[in-house]
Symmetry: C2
Subunit: 193 residues, 2 copies
């Protein structure tokens, strides 16, 4: 108790967000009730409301934190061949979805219907897509058409990883990664012909 009171409000908020992120791994956003979070944190519902305003604000903060973690964890290595760097980044993406399946699926669904979640989601995927152009300007010409293709490829990648997680369909993780990282250059090449 004495330790708890020594935390600043900002630290306490951070601590609750860390808990939210841990819950996100195995709970949908709908399951992340104030009751559950307060119980897991060992605090009162009132205190949780005090730090986040309401359930929606807490969820948004968790999704924002999850989206930041996704972007950070999929950062490609600074050097190496473009395809290798893409493979590395996609491996991190597969691992992120694998480790946070329930939360991730509900984030995707929430983004379709909730404008705030959609903005967080779009920002994250905008960052993932934009990074491809920054990381490999020789490999990927930055044109509006290429940006369109990258958007489509990201949508395919998400569908493939989520479907594979439900049913691997005989594909190993390496098969999946080969498909994900190999398809982008092919799609971009087909744009030029």
């Amino acid at each position: 108790m004495s330790q708890r009171t020594r935390l600043t409000p900002e630290q306490r908020r951070e601590q609750l967000l860390d808990l939210g992120i841990r819950l996100f791994a195995h709970h949908s956003l709908d399951e992340m009730s104030i009751d559950l979070v307060a119980r897991e944190a060992g605090i009162s519902r009132g205190l949780l409301y005090h730090y986040f305003g309401d359930k929606t604000a807490f969820r948004e903060a968790v999704v924002r934190r999850a989206a930041e973690a996704l972007v950070a964890q999929t950062e490609p290595p600074a050097t190496g061949e473009p395809v290798e760097r893409l493979l590395h980044s996609m491996a991190a993406y597969v691992d992120f979805v694998d480790a946070n399946y329930e939360g991730y699926v509900s984030m995707v669904r929430g983004a379709a219907s909730d404008p705030v979640l959609r903005e967080i989601y779009d920002d994250a995927f905008g960052a993932l897509g934009g990074r491809i152009f920054e990381a490999a300007p020789d490999f990927v010409p930055d044109t509006p058409a290429a940006r369109l293709v990258v958007r489509g490829w990201l949508a395919m990648s998400e569908e493939l990883v989520l479907s594979w997680k439900k049913d691997p369909a005989g594909l190993s993780r390496e098969d999946l990664l080969g498909l994900l990282a190999g398809s982008l250059p092919m799609l971009l090449d087909s744009l030029e012909t």
Copy 2:
């Protein structure tokens, strides 16, 4: 008025669904209020409730009808080269999204959050995907991995068409169709190597 009363309840229901489909072209599901539909149909709100129960049931019936129309309109020609048949089907898909953009976008979003709409959507895309295997068994080997790839390719196609509709990014309709129809064989080929 005399003509209206001569319709059977089933015919009247069909007529209202036809109106719903016309509204679907340029209205989101959220915009398709009982007020709007009743006004457009020239009937009372009460009569609309009588035929469909409630607003949700009407929306579901309209989405079901729209999904059926999508599957029917994208039916590939019975003969021809696989790639040509796929091109034909994708052209019909692009035209459907183009003609029903507002309703289609809201159907996609609704499917993410509403279980009933999701089932209708999944059934329609299951039919679109399954048809690819029925139409061209030599072209597309029907394996679980190929089914997974087709799911991903459909997700990419949807994203590409919706993004292209918002901003063509310098791509003509033919460029887009070439990208859509050309990418599936490439993706399936990359699965085999």
